[in-house]
Amino acid sequence: MKIYRIHALICAGAQCIAAGGNGFEDALKDELKKHELLKEVNIIETGCMGSCQLGPLMAVYPEGVIYTKLKPEDAKEIVEEHFLKGRAVKRLMWKEKETVLPSLSEIPFFAKQTKIVLRNCGIINPEDINEYIAQGGYEALGKALTEMTREDVIQVVKDSGLRGRGGAGFPTGKKWQLAYEQDSPIKYIVCNADEGDPGAYMNRSVLEGDPHSVLEGMTIAGYAIGAQKGFIYVRAEYPLAVKRLEIAIKQAKQAGLLGKNILGTNFSFDIELRIGAGAFVCGEETALINSIEGKRGEPRKKPPFPVQKGVFGFPTVINNVETLANIPVIIEKGAKFFRSFGTEKSPGTKVFALAGKVNITGLVEVPLGTPLRTIIYDIGGGIPEGHSFKAAQTGGPSGGVIPSQYIDVPMDYESLTSLGAIMGSGGLIVMDETSCMVDVAKFFLKFTVDESCGKCTPCREGTRQMLNILERITSGKGQMEDLELLEKLGNTIKLASLCGLGQTAPNPVLTTLRYFRDEYIAHIKDKKCPSNVCKLSSEVKNERKVFNRSSS
């Protein structure tokens, strides 16, 4: 093995690439070549480091210095000053309130997180299986296959209390048990990587930054329930994730960690990728099953549940990316270790995608039950100067808003549900006083109307009518009765819709009505938008034309 003096970890997550990361990397390589340092400095492309807003990012070890917002022209200075002379370039380092923070361990954004799911993201090269193995990867699979029975594996997952990270929070061990009990020669594991919630990109970062953790989790799940095959359903909007998964599957097969007789045992398991084609509803598990089968992504009626009758009619366990990435850690370190994080009912950690009006946006992993305030202020650095926190939106279009009086709410499944919001997949959009809550509710409803598959009437017609009412209110034509109508309609849609999309679609409207009713009233009675977002003078033009977003 080659020994290097310096390891330069360049974030190659989609967001850093989009911010211009490739240009910097090329420039850095040129400079290193010029100074003949290519043998001393090891450049590694890693997955997402989390603080995406400050990208392109590079972490330099052994010091642990992190450079932010890199441009190609910065490469020369970094090489000449830091790599040659050992003087870190302060100008480009992480700063908080004008103070330069010398290393990762001293930056609150990193220091205050607990990384289980993101354990390897930003640390390893996701395109090299050896780096994953060097971090202890595939040890859990080895342990499961050689030291544990299928029942043991299910028991550990049950004991860990792991709950589905896709949003609903169903106990993973219980789901596995139900599939295990099905008497069927064919069973499937499906990884739901159709992350479509606006504001959520946690799964993308895991797939791009640590794809083997998902493959390992799936293979263990396959062993436990008795499946021979797994599907990863990835949305087509994530081409980089698809590429890295393809590489990971190929390497795992070559290493004998996937395919026939894994690790020399008689367990065989294969994984296939299925690429979506842009339909939000396919994140709903029964719609996803239809889509895997190549059909229109319309949901099916439950029961039968997927664990009874799933893909091609066979028992199927569908787990979210983040859920599966937790599995190797639980198997390797045990249920007790996992339970040492989080709360009694919500053990472990959760990754949140912090976005919106907050100083440091990015991916944040914290123990479940961490107060919202800690995430926004201690890790996210608070609200940009001059503004104040108004509300946070969790769970995207299925979730709700948490108003400022509940900023100390512990972020766990039950606490969020009691506020009318949901955990959801982990999207966390922060809003300040410049955001209009009626506009936000309308925004999500437009999304739902666009994405409703049209199969059931409450969702197809109901959400459209709710949107019409909101259009009316935000254009100054609303009436006080509209508020009751919204609530009545919302509750009916929740009760009567076929799948999770419709059952949760009214949440953004219902929670804003609950916590920000005064804003609705201001739009109706005073014909004013308190946040100056909605233009109330204009007439409502063509209410049915929801695709015309320029009217907002």
């Binding site: 989609a14 967001q15 690439i17 989009a18 911010a19 995406c52 807003q53 990208g55 992350e195 479509g196 919630d197 606006p198 504001g199 959520a200 990109y201 993308r204 087509a236 909007e237 994530y238 081409p239 980089l240 296939e272 299925r274 690429i275 979506g276 084609a277 842009g278 339909a279 939000f280 889509s291 895997i292 089968e293 190549g294 059909k295 229109r296 992504g297 995608a353 912090l354 976005a355 919106g356 009006k357 946006t361 990015g362 991916l363 939106q393 995207g396 999207g427 959009i429 809003m431 955001s435 936000v440 925004f443 999500f444 999304f447 666009d450 994405e451 598959c453 695709f547 977003r549 907002s552």
Partner: protein, 142 residues
């Protein structure tokens, strides 16, 4: 051996078509290979937003319309694109280079506003960046 689903086949034929859409001829071919009726194929092709049954440009621009991008004034990026390209959402430039589309969320919320052109992601967009990006794409520099 991987069995291709109807969705996989549609992705394949659409990619093979320089005009970026599932034409009637292609749909017929897919129907024949997969032993399905043309209406089934059409049903799937029209369900998913990434498939098109009408002609599109060489490059597909997808502008993110999620809440994070909305809060970051993503509207101005969309308007600038419309202005630079001289087309509205769903339309194709007269030279056949670009089609402008929306996406519900591209998952790049931390670098909002964002867009993708084909497989290339762009973030932290400013109005003044748009012209340069389009120009570079036309020249094949990206």
């Amino acid at each position: 051996m991987k069995e291709k689903s109807l969705i996989d086949l549609l992705h394949d034929v659409q990619e093979s078509n320089p005009k970026n859409y599932v034409s009637k001829d292609l749909a017929k071919k897919v129907a024949e290979t997969s032993n399905l009726s043309l209406s089934k194929v059409y049903g799937v092709a029209t369900f998913y937003t990434m498939f098109s049954v009408t002609q599109r440009g060489k490059h597909i621009i997808r502008v993110c319309r999620s809440l994070s991008c909305h809060l970051a004034n993503g509207e101005s990026i969309l308007n600038k694109l419309k202005e630079v390209l001289g087309i509205d959402i769903g339309e194709t430039t007269s030279d056949g280079e670009f089609t402008l589309e929306e996406s519900s969320c591209l998952g790049m919320c931390s670098i909002a506003p964002s867009m993708m052109i084909d497989d290339v992601p762009f973030g932290n967009l400013k109005e003044e960046d748009i012209e340069g990006i389009i120009k570079k794409f036309k020249e094949g520099a990206l």
